[in-house]
Symmetry: C2
Amino acid sequence: MPAARGGDAQKTGPTLEQVAARAGVGRGTASRVINGSPRVSERTRAAVQAAVAELGYVPNRAARALAAGSMDAIALVVPEQENRLFAEPYFSEILRGVSAELADTDKQLLLTLIRDERSRDRFTQYAAAHRVDGVLLVSVHADDPLPDLLRDVGMPAVLSGRRSSAEHVPYVDSDNLLGAQLAVEHLIGRGRRKVATITGPLDMYAARCRLAGYHEALTAAGRTGPEPGARPAVEAAHRPAAAPGGRLVAEADFTEEGGHRAMRELLERDPDVDAVFCASDVMAAGARLALRESGRDVPHDVALVGFDDSAVARHMDPPLTTVKQPIEEMGRAMVRMLLALMGTEPDPRGAPAPDAGQPQLVLPTELIRRGSS
Amino acid sequence: MPAARGGDAQKTGPTLEQVAARAGVGRGTASRVINGSPRVSERTRAAVQAAVAELGYVPNRAARALAAGSMDAIALVVPEQENRLFAEPYFSEILRGVSAELADTDKQLLLTLIRDERSRDRFTQYAAAHRVDGVLLVSVHADDPLPDLLRDVGMPAVLSGRRSSAEHVPYVDSDNLLGAQLAVEHLIGRGRRKVATITGPLDMYAARCRLAGYHEALTAAGRTGPEPGARPAVEAAHRPAAAPGGRLVAEADFTEEGGHRAMRELLERDPDVDAVFCASDVMAAGARLALRESGRDVPHDVALVGFDDSAVARHMDPPLTTVKQPIEEMGRAMVRMLLALMGTEPDPRGAPAPDAGQPQLVLPTELIRRGSS
DNA sequence: CGCATGAATGGGAGCGCTCCCACACACGGG
DNA sequence: CCCGTGTGTGGGAGCGCTCCCATTCATGCG
């Protein structure tokens, strides 16, 4: 039996050929029906569809990919050097959104964790060889060359979060600046006089934005600041921790330990702090611990606000007021953007991109009030 | 130019043919080198490898899959009706393990969230058509038909967690019974007299195991129980909440709300409860809340132990004593088992499976002591 | 009434690979 | 000196699909 080859035993389903035969049409016509080409008569279409149903035909992706030169798959790339605490809630939300949006397309979702140099190189090569049609990049660091590499090889890609304000690769981000501003305004509105902040690593754009929001809210409220009256530019937000004008800034690294250390540092610098805006919930958990150790009550002595609205926030005692990002929606938006990009990119024939969708998108953030403030 | 077809513009990398030409050998030989066949002379091997390096050759997966009849991909299937709280930490740990173990193979990881009937059918069909080589199933419910469906179409699959003690599909599980036993023994060892438990939904095998562990520990300690002296069978563990012999069992659903409600119920039934073993950390968080509301101190008045060692446990106040499962290792083990299955399964020619690896594996659990007990 | 025009269709070519058959070519024993 | 026996090797035949060219009709126009 010359038919059974390769993987053997794999009773691979019916082929297009068989469907066509059953419907009494040619292979080409069957293909046209299955791919929804308009150039097919109604009768024929019905016949083929019936045959598909009867035979339970499922197109062979490999064959399709090989013939069409597209893989019908997109990769979700997650760098894994990241502290898992940071990645957890954010990542699973993104995943949910991506998967939901992809459910209607019949594209596959390929998950790639990049954990070291070797796996990064592997993926780069893989992408360069066009083994996927598009790439979603989650939590990219400012110095990550991957986005540019992908652009160079003509691989459509969408980032979650910018690497800088000059980001030229398409991205979906949330409004970190406004979110931080809301948080700090809220603290001021609750009558807090000495509002400090614990920032993320300031080589990350999101962290800088949140710090800028902090400064902006204080300035707007008329509190003295480093640049009185001047609109603090996000790019310039990277300034010494002990800013002039008495603002209380401590830099940490989005980890709980970092938040704990930063809070102790703040208390040492100014024991009268009565509010802290933390650039992540996890850091807020660390700060909470430091406050408890110093005998301070939350929210009575010190009000606390976090960022992310992750599970940690709900489980803290008291529950943490925090800034919620629409993470699932960000995942969905990333997919929509990528699909649009993929629809236009591979067409070099002058067509000026029908509607690529906004290649950069900033989604709103929202303050969730809970017991900690 | 008759060469540029299909996807256009996709400057797909060099082909095997080109590599072979460059190395001055035939296509077949080049293929043999790349797939590590031993029947190649050292000289030739070196020449081909050099050509591969120079050209930056990356094999085309689609072509390979089509020709070989195997897809070089496995699917990780996650049912999504699941409450996200439960899924979060567990899922991301599994993912880490799976991905790590898969990094050395050059198999792709395909992620499939199943959210409704429609997507389930779609996946079933997809698998039946052998579009993946194997399937990893996470958090399967006792009545889920998917595992059997997959077995029927000859698709290798591995479960995380059994559906019952008679599970016949290969699985990796953790030792829920022993873990629960450790937890309850620990509580007894701390001098607690009235140890209650909050179980998961008792139509889930893991929940029944944990309950059985509770009973077993109490019986071993000589506390009166429903079946004095008898070894409580896991299968029989599904008994009325108000068990004879004074044991305190409340059933919940692995959610925080459920844990909260169950704790209130327990306190009502017996206000003198001085310890509670919760079958999940999340439920313990709910129980913690109920205890606080009732004015009881943890651990002074009531000691609390959870299960999972998730992030919630570390962030509770006081930090939660809990039973840790080696979740990442479970992910790794699942992949190893699946690969073994895939290596043997497709061979129908009588070969009695060289070393399929243990088709069922139960990994140990461990008690993590923290402030809550 | 004949011929250009378009719609619907059939089927060849080929995507890049693996499998496997056939073909060298080097041996050693009869 | 001829024939196994083995080791490397080349390349044909597809895998199931999409693309596209050719073909067949039915239609409308000159």
